[in-house]
Amino acid sequence: MLKPERTSHLFAEAHATYAEGIKYLEEATKLWDRELLRKSAEKTWCAALLATNAFILARTGVEPEPDHEEGTYSRLTHMRKELNDWEMIIGRYATLSHDIYQTAVCEKNVEPVFLLIHDIHDTADYIRDVERLAGVGPGE
């Protein structure tokens, strides 16, 4: 793993941001509040982006610009030859970007709610998987 301290810091930030997203989700489902659900989606997306940037940093030594979806995506596609089943990793990123970031956060479309909630929960698996691929966490 390259730049281990900064990588760990970014992953810690990703986990903390995701936890904030889950708090918003709990409030949103308790109050049946769509704006809180959108905030949960926003935090979840930020967490996924931070984790992806940490993964890229660990593998390449270069940290993508923060909060720049396109830049992170571009760096990820440049790494494709080093990744096993790159279609899946980049595809999962593209799915989160489309269904959580573009649709729920930018377009403020949280429908269907049950699928968005499912996607928010699933993002925890994505973060865990890129963390493992970065060489952090169990199995590495």
């Binding site: 279609e87 595809g91 593209a94 489309h98 499912h118 699933d122």
Partner: protein, 129 residues
């Protein structure tokens, strides 16, 4: 499988489009090849949705929602959804509409891999839900 004849016709069309995309790729016409491969991806996904729900989708938005719904709680289907989304982004949005040359080798790899995508969708259409 629901609507087996319609499902088979859609998969046949997806394979025809894939063959056409490969011919275009061999001719160096990457941008058009990308859009035809995207068409094959969409057709195969539509076929899977028909096989599972009996309902036919039309536009990209409906197909997108269809695969998202099918992936709910289904790991293999969720994997296909990821492969669908990367194709939507690279082949349809970036390569064709954006005319982007930046992801040329990614686009070519995804065009070639569309055959595998169709096969995966077909296997899922035949499997019990």
């Amino acid at each position: 499988m629901l609507e087996p004849e319609r499902t088979a016709a859609l998969f046949d069309d997806a394979r025809l489009l894939y063959d056409e995309a490969m011919e275009l790729l061999d001719l160096g016409k990457l941008r058009v090849a990308a859009e035809v491969a995207w068409g094959a991806t969409k057709r195969a996904t539509d076929a899977l949705i028909v096989a599972r729900t009996g309902r036919e989708t039309s536009g990209t938005g409906q197909t997108s929602n269809g695969i998202r719904l099918l992936s709910y709680g289904a790991i293999e289907m969720a994997a296909l959804r990821s492969r669908f989304r990367i194709r939507a982004r690279v082949l349809h949005a970036e390569c064709f509409y954006g005319g982007s040359r930046a992801s040329l080798d990614v686009a070519a790899a995804l065009i070639r891999g569309t055959r595998d995508y169709i096969r995966r969708a077909e296997n899922m259409a035949q499997a019990q839900p």
